[in-house]
Protein backbone atom coordinates (compact mmCIF):
# COMPACT_ATOMS: atom_id res chain seq x y z
CA UNK A 1 0.00 0.00 0.00
CA UNK A 2 1.40 3.34 -1.02
CA UNK A 3 1.69 5.82 1.79
CA UNK A 4 -0.20 9.08 1.46
CA UNK A 5 1.46 12.47 1.81
CA UNK A 6 -0.10 12.73 5.28
CA UNK A 7 1.48 9.41 6.32
CA UNK A 8 4.90 10.52 5.11
CA UNK A 9 4.58 13.89 6.85
CA UNK A 10 3.60 12.12 10.07
CA UNK A 11 6.77 10.00 9.81
CA UNK A 12 8.91 13.09 9.29
CA UNK A 13 7.31 14.71 12.32
CA UNK A 14 7.50 11.65 14.58
CA UNK A 15 10.91 10.25 13.72
CA UNK A 16 12.57 12.98 11.69
CA UNK A 17 12.43 10.34 8.95
CA UNK A 18 14.49 11.77 6.11
CA UNK A 19 13.62 8.86 3.81
CA UNK A 20 9.94 9.78 4.15
CA UNK A 21 10.81 13.37 3.30
CA UNK A 22 12.80 12.11 0.32
CA UNK A 23 9.69 10.35 -0.95
CA UNK A 24 7.74 13.60 -0.61
CA UNK A 25 10.44 15.39 -2.62
CA UNK A 26 10.33 12.69 -5.32
CA UNK A 27 6.54 12.99 -5.56
CA UNK A 28 6.38 16.76 -5.81
CA UNK A 29 9.66 17.75 -7.45
CA UNK A 30 8.22 17.78 -10.96
CA UNK A 31 5.30 20.09 -10.20
CA UNK A 32 7.34 22.44 -8.00
CA UNK A 33 10.19 22.65 -10.53
CA UNK A 34 7.63 23.06 -13.32
CA UNK A 35 5.95 25.95 -11.51
CA UNK A 36 9.27 27.66 -10.86
CA UNK A 37 10.35 27.18 -14.47
CA UNK A 38 7.19 28.98 -15.52
CA UNK A 39 7.81 31.77 -13.03
CA UNK A 40 11.46 32.16 -14.01
CA UNK A 41 10.59 31.80 -17.68
CA UNK A 42 12.36 28.50 -18.21
CA UNK A 43 15.59 29.54 -16.50
CA UNK A 44 16.16 25.92 -15.55
CA UNK A 45 19.20 26.44 -13.32
CA UNK A 46 17.57 29.23 -11.33
CA UNK A 47 14.28 27.31 -11.10
CA UNK A 48 16.06 24.23 -9.76
CA UNK A 49 18.01 26.28 -7.22
CA UNK A 50 14.75 27.81 -6.02
CA UNK A 51 13.07 24.39 -5.98
CA UNK A 52 15.88 23.07 -3.80
CA UNK A 53 15.49 26.03 -1.47
CA UNK A 54 11.74 25.37 -1.42
CA UNK A 55 12.16 21.78 -0.23
CA UNK A 56 14.81 22.72 2.33
CA UNK A 57 12.47 25.34 3.78
CA UNK A 58 9.63 22.85 3.73
CA UNK A 59 11.74 20.40 5.75
CA UNK A 60 12.78 23.02 8.28
CA UNK A 61 9.22 24.29 8.71
CA UNK A 62 7.25 21.09 8.30
CA UNK A 63 5.93 21.41 11.85
CA UNK A 64 4.05 24.51 10.75
CA UNK A 65 2.15 22.49 8.12
CA UNK A 66 -1.23 21.87 9.75
CA UNK A 67 -2.81 19.82 7.01
CA UNK A 68 -5.51 22.43 6.35
CA UNK A 69 -4.43 22.64 2.71
CA UNK A 70 -2.93 20.02 0.41
CA UNK A 71 0.80 19.51 0.88
CA UNK A 72 1.36 20.52 -2.75
CA UNK A 73 -0.46 23.83 -2.14
CA UNK A 74 1.75 24.47 0.86
CA UNK A 75 4.83 23.71 -1.27
CA UNK A 76 3.64 26.06 -4.03
CA UNK A 77 3.31 28.84 -1.48
CA UNK A 78 6.88 28.30 -0.26
CA UNK A 79 8.09 28.11 -3.88
CA UNK A 80 6.33 31.34 -4.77
CA UNK A 81 7.83 33.08 -1.72
CA UNK A 82 11.30 31.81 -2.69
CA UNK A 83 10.80 33.15 -6.19
CA UNK A 84 9.64 36.56 -4.95
CA UNK A 85 12.50 36.89 -2.47
CA UNK A 86 14.99 35.96 -5.15
CA UNK A 87 13.46 38.47 -7.56
CA UNK A 88 13.67 41.12 -4.87
CA UNK A 89 17.29 40.24 -4.17
CA UNK A 90 18.11 40.58 -7.81
CA UNK A 91 16.26 43.88 -7.84
CA UNK A 92 14.29 42.73 -10.81
CA UNK A 93 11.25 44.89 -10.98
CA UNK A 94 8.94 42.44 -12.58
CA UNK A 95 6.69 44.99 -14.31
CA UNK A 96 9.61 46.69 -16.06
CA UNK A 97 11.26 43.42 -17.00
CA UNK A 98 8.04 42.09 -18.43
CA UNK A 99 7.93 44.85 -21.00
CA UNK A 100 11.62 44.58 -21.78
CA UNK A 101 11.36 40.85 -22.14
CA UNK A 102 8.35 41.08 -24.41
CA UNK A 103 10.09 43.66 -26.58
CA UNK A 104 13.13 41.40 -26.93
CA UNK A 105 11.10 38.43 -28.09
CA UNK A 106 11.53 37.68 -31.74
CA UNK A 107 8.31 36.34 -33.24
CA UNK A 108 10.36 34.47 -35.85
CA UNK A 109 11.85 32.35 -33.07
CA UNK A 110 8.48 30.71 -32.40
CA UNK A 111 8.54 27.11 -33.52
CA UNK A 112 5.49 25.51 -35.03
CA UNK A 113 3.25 23.43 -32.83
CA UNK A 114 0.41 24.28 -30.49
CA UNK A 115 2.28 23.18 -27.40
CA UNK A 116 5.22 25.39 -28.13
CA UNK A 117 3.01 28.33 -29.02
CA UNK A 118 1.01 27.82 -25.86
CA UNK A 119 4.08 27.81 -23.63
CA UNK A 120 5.44 30.80 -25.49
CA UNK A 121 2.14 32.67 -25.07
CA UNK A 122 2.13 31.74 -21.39
CA UNK A 123 5.60 33.19 -20.91
CA UNK A 124 4.45 36.43 -22.50
CA UNK A 125 1.77 36.96 -19.84
CA UNK A 126 2.49 39.39 -17.00
CA UNK A 127 3.73 37.62 -13.89
CA UNK A 128 0.51 37.92 -11.87
CA UNK A 129 -1.62 36.50 -14.70
CA UNK A 130 0.95 33.86 -15.61
CA UNK A 131 1.22 32.66 -12.01
CA UNK A 132 -2.56 32.50 -11.58
CA UNK A 133 -2.99 30.60 -14.86
CA UNK A 134 -0.16 28.17 -14.06
CA UNK A 135 -1.54 27.44 -10.60
CA UNK A 136 -5.22 27.17 -11.50
CA UNK A 137 -5.30 25.91 -15.09
CA UNK A 138 -2.07 23.93 -15.24
CA UNK A 139 -1.70 22.59 -11.70
CA UNK A 140 -5.41 22.28 -10.93
CA UNK A 141 -5.57 24.47 -7.85
CA UNK A 142 -8.90 26.05 -7.00
CA UNK A 143 -9.12 29.84 -7.03
CA UNK A 144 -9.27 29.74 -3.26
CA UNK A 145 -6.10 27.65 -3.00
CA UNK A 146 -4.29 29.91 -5.47
CA UNK A 147 -5.34 32.94 -3.42
CA UNK A 148 -3.74 31.33 -0.36
CA UNK A 149 -0.57 30.47 -2.27
CA UNK A 150 -0.20 33.98 -3.68
CA UNK A 151 -1.54 35.70 -0.55
CA UNK A 152 -3.86 37.88 -2.58
CA UNK A 153 -7.66 38.33 -2.53
CA UNK A 154 -9.78 35.66 -4.19
CA UNK A 155 -11.30 38.22 -6.59
CA UNK A 156 -7.83 39.20 -7.82
CA UNK A 157 -7.01 35.58 -8.58
CA UNK A 158 -10.24 35.17 -10.54
CA UNK A 159 -9.54 38.35 -12.50
CA UNK A 160 -5.96 37.30 -13.26
CA UNK A 161 -7.03 33.85 -14.41
CA UNK A 162 -9.76 35.35 -16.59
CA UNK A 163 -7.44 37.91 -18.16
CA UNK A 164 -4.66 35.37 -18.64
CA UNK A 165 -7.02 32.91 -20.28
CA UNK A 166 -8.41 35.55 -22.62
CA UNK A 167 -4.92 36.61 -23.69
CA UNK A 168 -3.90 33.00 -24.28
CA UNK A 169 -7.03 32.38 -26.31
CA UNK A 170 -6.40 35.45 -28.45
CA UNK A 171 -2.80 34.41 -29.02
CA UNK A 172 -3.84 30.89 -29.94
CA UNK A 173 -6.86 31.88 -32.01
CA UNK A 174 -5.21 30.50 -35.14
CA UNK A 175 -5.28 27.02 -33.60
CA UNK A 176 -9.01 27.05 -32.94
CA UNK A 177 -10.99 24.51 -34.97
CA UNK A 178 -13.05 26.12 -37.72
Amino acid sequence: MELTDADLIARVLADDDQHAFGELVRRHQSSVRGLLRQLTRTDVALADDLAQETFLRAYKNIRSFRGEARFSTWLYRIAYNCFREDARRRKELVGVDEEQWQAQEDPKSINPGLRHDLMHALRLLPLNERTAVVLCCQNGLSHDEAARVLDIPLGTVKTNVLRGREKLKRTLAAWAPN
Binding site: D7, F21, V25, G34, C137
Partner: protein
Protein backbone atom coordinates in the same frame (compact mmCIF):
# COMPACT_ATOMS: atom_id res chain seq x y z
CA UNK B 1 -11.73 30.80 -30.34
CA UNK B 2 -10.52 28.00 -28.04
CA UNK B 3 -12.85 27.33 -25.09
CA UNK B 4 -11.73 27.27 -21.44
CA UNK B 5 -11.82 23.51 -21.11
CA UNK B 6 -9.68 22.93 -24.20
CA UNK B 7 -7.25 25.62 -23.13
CA UNK B 8 -6.85 24.13 -19.63
CA UNK B 9 -6.36 20.66 -21.09
CA UNK B 10 -3.76 21.95 -23.52
CA UNK B 11 -2.00 23.78 -20.69
CA UNK B 12 -1.86 20.62 -18.59
CA UNK B 13 -0.64 18.52 -21.49
CA UNK B 14 1.96 21.11 -22.42
CA UNK B 15 3.81 20.56 -19.16
CA UNK B 16 5.97 17.46 -19.36
CA UNK B 17 6.88 15.45 -16.27
CA UNK B 18 10.31 16.62 -15.15
CA UNK B 19 12.61 13.67 -14.50
CA UNK B 20 14.27 13.66 -11.11
CA UNK B 21 17.82 13.44 -12.53
CA UNK B 22 19.43 13.54 -9.10
CA UNK B 23 17.35 16.48 -7.83
CA UNK B 24 16.00 14.56 -4.83
CA UNK B 25 19.51 13.36 -3.96
CA UNK B 26 20.79 16.95 -4.02
CA UNK B 27 17.99 18.09 -1.72
CA UNK B 28 18.62 15.19 0.65
CA UNK B 29 22.34 15.94 0.73
CA UNK B 30 21.58 19.48 1.85
CA UNK B 31 19.07 18.66 4.56
CA UNK B 32 20.17 19.85 7.99
CA UNK B 33 21.29 17.06 10.31
CA UNK B 34 21.11 18.98 13.57
CA UNK B 35 17.85 17.37 14.71
CA UNK B 36 19.22 13.87 14.23
CA UNK B 37 22.44 14.74 16.05
CA UNK B 38 20.55 16.30 18.93
CA UNK B 39 18.60 13.03 19.30
CA UNK B 40 21.82 11.04 19.60
CA UNK B 41 23.28 13.62 21.93
CA UNK B 42 20.21 13.44 24.14
CA UNK B 43 20.44 9.63 24.34
CA UNK B 44 24.16 9.77 25.21
CA UNK B 45 23.54 12.39 27.91
CA UNK B 46 20.70 10.35 29.43
CA UNK B 47 22.78 7.18 29.45
CA UNK B 48 25.76 9.01 30.93
CA UNK B 49 23.63 10.57 33.68
CA UNK B 50 22.10 7.18 34.49
CA UNK B 51 25.56 5.60 34.80
CA UNK B 52 26.91 8.44 36.93
CA UNK B 53 23.79 8.32 39.14
CA UNK B 54 24.18 4.56 39.62
CA UNK B 55 27.87 4.93 40.46
CA UNK B 56 27.21 7.69 42.99
CA UNK B 57 24.35 5.73 44.59
CA UNK B 58 26.62 2.68 44.94
CA UNK B 59 29.46 4.72 46.42
CA UNK B 60 27.33 6.41 49.09
CA UNK B 61 26.18 3.04 50.35
CA UNK B 62 22.97 2.33 48.53
CA UNK B 63 24.61 -0.79 47.09
CA UNK B 64 23.81 -2.90 50.13
CA UNK B 65 20.10 -2.09 49.73
CA UNK B 66 20.20 -3.62 46.24
CA UNK B 67 22.11 -6.67 47.49
CA UNK B 68 19.66 -7.22 50.36
CA UNK B 69 16.73 -6.75 48.00
CA UNK B 70 18.04 -9.45 45.66
CA UNK B 71 18.66 -11.84 48.58
CA UNK B 72 15.15 -11.18 49.92
CA UNK B 73 13.69 -11.75 46.45
CA UNK B 74 15.54 -15.07 46.20
CA UNK B 75 13.79 -16.22 49.38
CA UNK B 76 10.32 -15.63 47.91
CA UNK B 77 8.30 -18.70 46.86
CA UNK B 78 8.68 -19.56 43.20
CA UNK B 79 5.00 -18.91 42.32
CA UNK B 80 5.30 -15.36 43.67
CA UNK B 81 8.42 -14.76 41.58
CA UNK B 82 6.59 -16.01 38.51
CA UNK B 83 3.65 -13.69 39.18
CA UNK B 84 6.08 -10.81 39.72
CA UNK B 85 7.90 -11.60 36.44
CA UNK B 86 4.61 -11.88 34.58
CA UNK B 87 3.44 -8.54 35.97
CA UNK B 88 6.71 -6.88 35.00
CA UNK B 89 6.37 -8.37 31.50
CA UNK B 90 2.85 -6.99 31.17
CA UNK B 91 3.90 -3.50 32.23
CA UNK B 92 6.92 -3.44 29.88
CA UNK B 93 4.80 -4.91 27.03
CA UNK B 94 2.10 -2.26 27.54
CA UNK B 95 4.71 0.51 27.37
CA UNK B 96 6.17 -1.04 24.22
CA UNK B 97 2.76 -1.20 22.50
CA UNK B 98 1.94 2.41 23.42
CA UNK B 99 5.35 3.57 22.18
CA UNK B 100 4.99 1.59 18.93
CA UNK B 101 1.55 3.08 18.27
CA UNK B 102 2.85 6.58 18.88
CA UNK B 103 5.76 6.02 16.51
CA UNK B 104 3.83 4.33 13.70
CA UNK B 105 1.55 6.72 11.85
CA UNK B 106 -0.45 3.99 10.08
CA UNK B 107 -1.33 2.22 13.34
CA UNK B 108 -1.97 5.53 15.08
CA UNK B 109 -4.41 6.50 12.33
CA UNK B 110 -6.12 3.11 12.61
CA UNK B 111 -6.66 3.57 16.33
CA UNK B 112 -8.44 6.84 15.56
CA UNK B 113 -10.91 5.20 13.18
CA UNK B 114 -14.50 5.65 14.16
CA UNK B 115 -17.12 3.16 13.00
Amino acid sequence: MIDDETLDRQLREAVPYIDDDGFTARVMANLPTTRRESGWLRAVILLGLALIGSGVAYLIGAGHVVREGIIELANFPIWLLLVFAFGCGLVVGAFAVVFAIRKTPEVRDLTRLEF
